[in-house]
């Protein structure tokens, strides 16, 4: 069966995200837009993954959990895991390396942890955007060591991408590369390509997606879903909406 996936989304925990984007609204909007596999990837934090897991269960979506991490080089990289516990554990590794800049919600936007019913559980006080004390290589190695998928985000953007920050693609075992337009940059075709919405607002959910074939459904376990995706990436079986 054809699975439509969007692996890069932000909730109200990301400061640049809209306060409106609670995990439950994100899940509902994704379902409305025909997405069957969705991931939550807030900046340097996985705090809304528990609520997101419950939201996806309620709505009937397959889900993956992780972060969009900012490396020391200020490259954005997605790390994805099959279950909330792994994502939270990963989130702790990231947070331990995040410098302690006090967050200013008025200037920078709110960073809110919520439950599935949109009750506020906490305000994140450390600014989540800055680079963590880990390089691209460190993030790739650590994610793979934890059996996650590691995907450099929006590699063709003019900011916070591998190409904007380094000017070239380092030879690392990325699970895939995320592009936002065609043609992909030189060297990128050697890797599996995906595209995602990178949604910070509800309207943008699913604006870019990719599909792959797998025999998985909401009744599959998180690990089964994850493995099916990993196989599709490994075998370069993705079809992009762009």
């Amino acid at each position: 069966m054809t699975i439509r996936a969007d692996l890069h989304n932000h909730s109200c925990l990301s400061p640049c995200g809209d306060l409106e984007v609670s995990p439950i609204r994100l899940a509902r909007r994704a379902a409305e837009r025909g997405i069957s596999l969705i991931a939550l990837t807030d900046h340097n934090a996985a705090g809304n993954c528990p609520a997101f897991a419950e939201a996806c269960r309620r709505v009937g979506l397959m889900a993956l959990f992780g972060t969009e991490t900012t490396s020391r080089e200020e490259v954005h990289i997605l790390s994805l895991f099959p279950d909330v516990e792994s994502a939270l554990d990963w989130g702790r590794w990231v947070y331990d390396r995040l410098p302690d800049f006090r967050h200013d919600p008025e200037k920078l936007g709110d960073q809110v942890v919520v439950d599935v019913d949109e009750n506020i559980l906490a305000f994140e006080e450390r600014y989540l955007i800055p680079a963590i004390e880990a390089s691209i290589d460190d993030i790739v190695a650590e994610t793979l060591q934890r059996d996650g998928l590691v995907i450099p985000a929006h590699i063709d953007r003019s900011a916070h991408s591998i190409y904007s920050q380094l000017g070239f693609l380092p030879d690392l075992p990325f699970s895939a590369l995320e592009i936002t337009r065609r043609p992909p940059p030189p060297g990128a075709e050697d890797y599996t390509l995906i595209c995602d919405s990178d949604a910070h607002f509800l309207d943008d959910v699913g604006r870019r997606t990719f599909t792959f074939s797998a025999e998985i459904s909401v009744d599959s376990s998180g690990q089964e879903v994850f493995n099916a995706l990993a196989a599709a990436l490994q075998e370069r079986r993705t079809t992009l909406s762009i």
């Binding site: 200020e74 410098p99 800049f101 200037k107 920078l108 680079a131 900011a159």
Partner: protein, 111 residues
């Protein structure tokens, strides 16, 4: 010298002119916004090639008065608008950061 005099002295394009004047007492040069956040607190002007909206957010956080973009870098309208909202000037030069930093360093150390 004041910040508003800098464009004339260094022959800079002024892309966003809504900002408060202040004496020019410090500058910082970096392309990593995290580095700017950690070290640019005494800077009045930030010299960088990072011409995007996030630079404005960081400049606002550390209290920089103007951003000076090097290498004649293209500037998106949303960066200019963000800077206008924050009252942070945007200047641009054909020169690279080495030259611009050197010139501003000399100005700051001559007074």
């Amino acid at each position: 010298m004041n910040l508003r005099e800098l464009p004339k002295v260094l022959d800079l394009e002024v892309l966003q002119d809504t900002f408060d004047d202040r004496p020019l007492s410090g500058a910082y040069t970096s392309d990593l916004l995290s580095d700017v956040m950690a070290h640019a607190n005494d800077a009045d002007v930030l010299i960088t090639i990072q011409s995007h909206k996030n630079t404005v957010a960081v400049a606002s956080l550390v209290g920089v008065g103007a951003i000076l973009l090097s290498n004649n870098r293209p500037v998106p309208e949303e960066m200019i608008q963000a800077a206008r909202d924050e009252s942070i000037g945007i200047f641009r030069s054909r020169e690279n950061q080495f030259v611009l930093s050197g010139r501003i360093y000399r100005i700051l150390n001559a007074e």
